[in-house]
Subunit: 167 residues, 2 copies
């Protein structure tokens, strides 16, 4: 083990560069009814009974008003075929819902097309921490599309899972 990294920001950045994450896309509606959304690498399960999940976001993002001011979001689990969708949902805000890649889904929320799985989440906690927030949702509904390899984000690139590591 090398010596400690003295600068805590470097420790954080270098460690997370070695972490891999599945990619999700969260969508919602602002209180005015405008579709908003973003690509998230922070989706995690919290508990199974009742089914709870968490994701993290910036409170200075365009999607925050939807999380702060409404009751539900849709969470989409992206597959390898959704690479362009991941880019779209992390690209220019005014282009994220321009096109045919979504439809009106449960509760009028923007449902992204052709994803392996999606879940309807009722927001049960919003935990502000600085400019960010942890959001806890209870899953109330969901659906499956065609199966696919999972989409990963790792070392600043999109990847698919590789070999199983046996015991």
């Amino acid at each position: 083990m090398e010596p400690h990294i003295v600068d805590e920001l470097s420790a954080f950045k270098l460690a997370f560069r070695r972490h891999a994450a599945g990619v999700a896309a969260v969508t919602g509606l602002t209180p005015a009814g405008i579709p908003v959304g973003f690509t998230a690498t922070s989706l995690a399960s919290l508990a199974a009974v009742p089914p709870l999940a968490t994701f993290n976001m910036s409170r200075i993002s365009t999607a925050w008003p939807a999380v702060e001011g409404t009751s539900h979001v849709l969470i989409h689990l992206l597959g390898a075929r959704n690479r362009a969708l991941a880019d779209r949902m992390s690209g220019p805000h005014d282009q994220r819902f321009v096109g045919e890649h979504w439809a009106v889904g449960p509760l009028g929320l923007p449902l992204l097309n052709d994803v392996p799985a999606w879940m309807l989440g009722r927001i049960v906690e919003r935990v502000p921490v600085g400019d960010a927030a942890v959001v806890v949702v209870q899953i109330e509904d969901g659906g499956l599309g065609d199966d696919d390899e999972a989409l990963l984000y790792h070392e600043r690139a999109y990847m698919s899972p590789g070999d199983v590591i046996l015991d």
Copy 2:
């Protein structure tokens, strides 16, 4: 898109089966000084300035007293070579710190050997939700070991990342 899955627990389980996650191991000391720890697939970054991260855990786990009753934990980012360590830290509680796979690290916390990266996290929020909790930590220190492929958990198996998916 297939019809909705009516049962929300099935929606949750089937969706997360299609999600992939990086694998971390969290360690701490109970207020009595006993080393505890667990394998976590919920580690996520929350913000970079200051560097904040989150993980989720059960409050009925043996590691909860360390999170509830002390100020810091160590978070280890696991690589493909740490497959056995991931099993160890999710196996029988009384065997997790029996052996030579750890040493006394910063603040006396259990530091797992030969991991690609670790971070010292000061606990800044504990958010109980039912029997579970979201834990927010601020990263105060860290170190790097030899680089490795990331360790993933997906479809109930450990894997390494595969091919990069280009535009």
